[in-house]
Amino acid sequence: MLLTERERLREELIALADQFGRQRSSLMPILQEVERRHFRISEYCMQVIADLLDLHPVEVHSVVSFYSFLDESPRGQFVIRLCRTITCEMAGKDHVARQLENDLGITFGQTTPDGKFTLQWANCLGMCDQGPALLVNDQIFTRVTPERVHGILQECRQTFGVHAVAGAKER
């Protein structure tokens, strides 16, 4: 990483710490914001955040590694989380999963080489009456079929630059 980039990142983190407050209970909101902006929480970020909140970096790392919505390694702009819990499984999530893998050319847990998509499993998304369900960042899609996968991915590709789709819309 270039020195100037590091400095910029550091300033950004200082601003976040000032916004949320420099106490331990601000750790999660700060990490969530870093994840949203940078699609990951790098070692460098963890170190700086630890310094700002007066924590040991291991403490920050232990939190990042615990939660499934926080990532150490870079994830894609769009994280697709397919629900694998029982009712979505009964509704045919395996076929949706296979088609997602086919259309993206990656398997679950991987990110596309262009950095656009990450494919992950999710535990119960709370859409059990409308499965199979998947989340793309914070947008929910229900009753997903293998045929619809291509359209969902195309929609993401067309909104490049905007990684978080605001508002709740259901298709």
Partner: protein, 403 residues
């Protein structure tokens, strides 16, 4: 928001926000507490702890800083009623929290919203903003001198165990979501060490209904030990899945009839951590004293493979166990391995019994509800579906059929 999934009329439809709070402000806090005690309301998250007892213990604590926390970390497989309540009746939830604040003398409320529901946040923030404008949150609520209370939303980051109240508090404080030893309970040592009540989304909404319609009205439904109505999230093999309101004490058979799930082979009551009720026991009642649930009802039709069900639930727990205590961390993968052996037709009766006794150890020795309830589904399937799971031939198949 989300597409309407409520089936039939709900009590919440007819309750107008504002009335319950007004009633709560018109009487002393102790009287409000008496009313909730008289209703017999128990926690709607599933554990069923009497709401009035929790609140009165927090009310007695002599501290300036107290917290009201709404547990919106609805992660139990098969549960989605809190999503519907937050989408359609957010005002009732916030009002219930405000009433709780009045009872225990708290100044701050926190909604812990699961990351998977982040699309609800904007809607909830705007509901909070309009309550502030109407003077229902903020300083001098309802014109009452000294009654200051506000609510903020705190996002989760994708962890099922954070639905356990002490893990939730750990997460709020910026730690890993690892459950604490209890006691001390959150009512005296909660968020940042201060007295804290943690209640389910639905519990807060019912408090408002009780204050508007009275304890007697609430108590007139349900059973003696499980009073009132409850919301159920129904999914799986039935013709009308969705969110329903039923009186507590409804039998499994009656429920199946209502949702179009007749002919089911089994019903999972209470999600992955609940019990699997086979068709032969469909006269059992859904209530805290028989089969309890936080609302999750998953219906399995005659063709479902119960081993696949057990596998799915155990994979869920392998993923979501926090890893802190040994019985849960080591026990869950062992049970999953057992399911795989059963699927391959390679499990002796002696080993199956061994696994069930491991389940009992986990139930007794795990630190929190997750590990204590993780073996439930496996043990009930191993007990009630032996004819289906033993002696399989071929990989994951029953004799002569594809299962």
């Amino acid at each position: 928001m989300t597409s309407p999934t409520t089936m039939g009329k709900l009590t919440f439809d007819a309750v107008s926000p504002g009335v319950g709070l007004k009633a709560a402000l018109a009487q002393p806090a102790a009287a409000v507490l008496d009313r909730i005690a008289a209703s017999g309301l128990r926690g709607r998250g599933g554990a069923g702890f009497p709401t009035s007892v929790k609140w009165s213990m927090a009310a007695e604590a002599d501290e300036a800083d107290k917290y009201v926390v709404c547990n919106a970390d609805e992660g139990e497989p098969g549960t989605f009623k809190d999503r519907v309540i937050l989408s359609e009746f957010a005002d009732l939830v916030f009002e219930g929290m405000t009433i709780a604040a009045r009872v225990i003398a708290a100044r701050k409320g926190i909604v812990y919203l699961r990351a998977e529901y982040s699309y609800l946040r904007r809607h909830l923030e705007s509901a909070l903003a309009s309550r502030r404008e109407e003077g229902l949150l903020g300083k001098r609520i309802g014109g009452k001198e000294g009654f200051d209370f506000d609510i903020e939303i705190h996002m989760g980051s994708g962890s099922y165990v954070c639905g356990e109240e002490t893990a939730l508090i750990e997460s709020l404080e910026g730690h890993r979501g690892e459950p604490r030893n209890r006691p001390p309970f959150p009512i005296d040592t909660g968020y940042l060490g201060h007295p804290t009540i943690v209640n389910n989304v639905e519990t807060f909404a019912w408090v408002v209904c009780i204050l508007e319609k009275g304890a007697e009205w609430f108590k007139s439904h349900g059973t003696v030990k499980s009073t009132g109505h409850k919301l159920f999230s129904v999914s799986g093999d039935c013709s009308r899945p969705g969110v329903y309101e039923f009186p507590m004490g409804i039998t499994v058979a009656e429920l199946l009839e209502e949702v179009g799930g007749q002919g089911a082979k089994a019903v999972q009551v209470g999600g992955a951590s609940g019990q699997c009720v086979p068709a032969s026991q469909s006269d059992r009642t859904i209530a805290y004293e028989d089969v309890p649930t936080g609302g999750s009802i998953i219906i399995f039709g005659p063709k479902r493979d119960m081993l696949e069900v057990a596998r799915n639930f155990l994979e869920f727990f392998v993923d979501e166990s926090c890893g802190q205590c040994t019985p849960c961390r080591e026990g869950v993968p062992k049970l999953l391995e057992g399911v795989q052996m059963l699927q391959q037709g390679a499990c002796s009766m002696a080993y199956l019994k061994e696994l069930c006794s491991l389940g009992e150890t986990m139930r007794l020795a795990s630190k929190c509800g997750l590990g204590q309830s993780a073996p439930n589904a496996f043990v009930s399937i191993a007990r009630d579906f032996q004819d289906e799971i033993l002696g399989r031939t071929g990989f994951g198949r029953r004799n002569g059929s594809d299962g």
